[in-house]
Amino acid sequence: MKKRIRNHERKMPLTELEQFLTGRIWLREFMPFAQEEVDSAIAAGKIGVKKGITENKECTRCLERSPQKIISFNCAKCQSVCYYCRHCLKMGRVSSCTELIYWADPSPKPKTPHSFIWNGLLTNAQQRASDEVLESLSCNQSHLVYAVCGAGKTELLFPPLAKALEKGQRICIAAPRTDVVLELSPRIKAVFPDSVIHTLYGGSPAETGFAQIVIATTHQLYRFENAFDAIIVDEADAFPYSFDPSLEGAVIKAKKRESPIVYVSATPSDRLLKEIPNQSKIFGRFHGHPLPVPQFRPLWNYRKIFSKNKIPKSLTRWVNDRLAKKEPFLVFLPTVELIEQAIPLFKKLDARIEKVHASDPERKEKVLKLREGKISGVLTSTILERGITIPNVQAAVVGADEAVFDSAALIQIAGRVGRSSDFPAGEIVFFHNGIVRQMDKAKRQILFYNKEGFR
């Protein structure tokens, strides 16, 4: 289905400076424009200026105010005591004597043409949720989409997004992790090929024009203020969003005051479930098959066995099974240290087993190779717990009883298995050193989804 969204006559085009700065709050000294151009726009009142750190010692960009993060120093630039913010330091240092600028004089944005290209196949459950999101957005109310891994959450957002674009709104889709942003971006671009869409994350290439849709990590929202008519927060329960309250502050700062937030999650926090009045729930997968249910298998003293340079027997058996059946697999381990310790041992089972962790620059390539069958399996930290889809992948968690694997993480990991309709089943094994409550909770929750999804 291709639908051309009606648009009105084009008005005055925006200057590049206005396109860039509208809705943003940016360090004056790091502007990608000529200094004279910025200076004259400030003189003309088009650009507003704010102090980097307020009198109350709060960072104007990320709203940080704890004394552990707002640090005083003798500034050689202004010859007095200044404060700087450590919290958002990596985006260019904000200090008392630096200035943040914003577009103070927004002009009505010209309505640009959008196309909406999509085959529009939603399951009944997806369609219902999609309609409900649309309804919430139209009356500026926040909404929670609570849908299991593999329910098809992104697709159901397309119709509400198209509607918003038609109305000339500016939308942000935010996710805590760069991996998720990179996965979303091409899908959104394919559906709205004529719209200006920016993809922003730490180290992302520069973008031009005025973006109707911004797809960004939640961190990047520190650099926006009063910008969006709606924000979709994907994976709202994921690290670091759920651990760093300032990211929630960033989302609120980035949207216009009346604008709604749509939270999307397979494992929402109790707080979200309680606080967001409008909710849509999808407990069945789009392909209609149940979620794979985790099996519990003991792996007594696995740390001790690994430290003797051995892989526990039942884990060896599991990996050899996967290798024999040529099934790609993920083994989740609780710490990077244990991954380092275990990888040479696994390489002896098969040289094509690789490791992945958060600071691995080749993470994307390795996941791709696993998908293409060029490597047989991956040892990973929780970094791969979400956002990745590999047909026929099988998963094991080693040390499922450890604190890093809370029930949400375990549900997400189980959610990697059986996502494609060609391979809707698969194995998910929790290897443990004693069953803990979080494991039970995860399994109970998955059984509940399967029951609810098939009613």
Binding site: N74, C75, A76, G92, R93
Partner: protein, 219 residues
């Protein structure tokens, strides 16, 4: 508190030393600390590069007008990835608290010296741009007193080729203060040794007799 580099929580172990000896507090975690590689073994007696006897650069220097200017030197760490990341965050991102990361090591190395500690100065324009002097701040964090007898006359060294750097015109000028007999120069990064030799030359002219140096890093 959290590690200044990786933000993981630091275990707070109360110790008698911390209570009574006003010990310098650790600000980074064990894992980050292990990322920095200390230089050990046989080193070049002038610049501290791991080497049997004088290294190639110092052998060259000893054939020039700069021969004999530097009595001896110590370089503490290798310029590895962890150190590059550290310098990036400290100098480029201007994260001033990182001046505390090597405070203990600097105090151990310099605390008992009889020489006057002289940090390599920054050019005033560069200082204003960076808002702080990275070496002064490190010495302050280590609780060390220092004095300044030089001003920087020319702009940065960083972007030049090795040859250009080794034959640069005078980089420093004496500021007119009385120079003590023994001097210990301190710099963050020793690359070709040009900076330190220029500083030493100017100080010798102004009356210093014995000049040694400490560099945090030997690249």
């Amino acid at each position: 508190m959290n590690c200044y580099l990786c933000e993981r929580e630091l275990p707070q172990l109360p110790s008698w030393r911390g209570l009574f000896l006003n010990d310098i507090q650790e600000v980074i975690c064990g894992r980050c600390k292990n990322g920095f590689m200390k230089i050990s073994g046989t080193v070049c007696p002038i610049c501290g590069l791991p080497n049997e006897g004088l290294c190639r650069d110092c052998r060259y220097w000893e054939t020039t007008e700069y021969a004999g200017l530097l009595q001896s030197g110590t370089s503490l760490y290798y310029y590895n990835e962890a150190m590059k990341d550290f310098l990036h965050q400290y100098k480029f991102l201007q994260d001033i608290v990182l001046s505390e990361v090597f405070a203990r090591q600097l105090r151990d190395e310099l605390g008992k010296t009889k020489a006057a500690i002289v940090p390599i100065p920054m050019h005033p324009d560069k200082l204003e741009e960076r808002t702080f002097s990275q070496i002064d701040c490190m010495l302050e964090a280590a609780g060390l007193r220092y004095s300044q007898y030089l001003t920087k006359s020319e702009q940065v060294q960083g972007k030049k080729t090795k040859k250009e750097r080794m034959s640069a015109p005078d980089l420093f000028h004496w500021n007119g203060k009385n120079v003590p007999r023994k001097i210990l120069l301190v710099d963050d990064l020793y690359t070709t040794g040009t900076t330190l030799r220029h500083a030493a030359k100017e100080l010798k002219k102004a009356g210093a007799e014995e000049i040694s140096f400490l560099a945090l890093i030997r690249s």
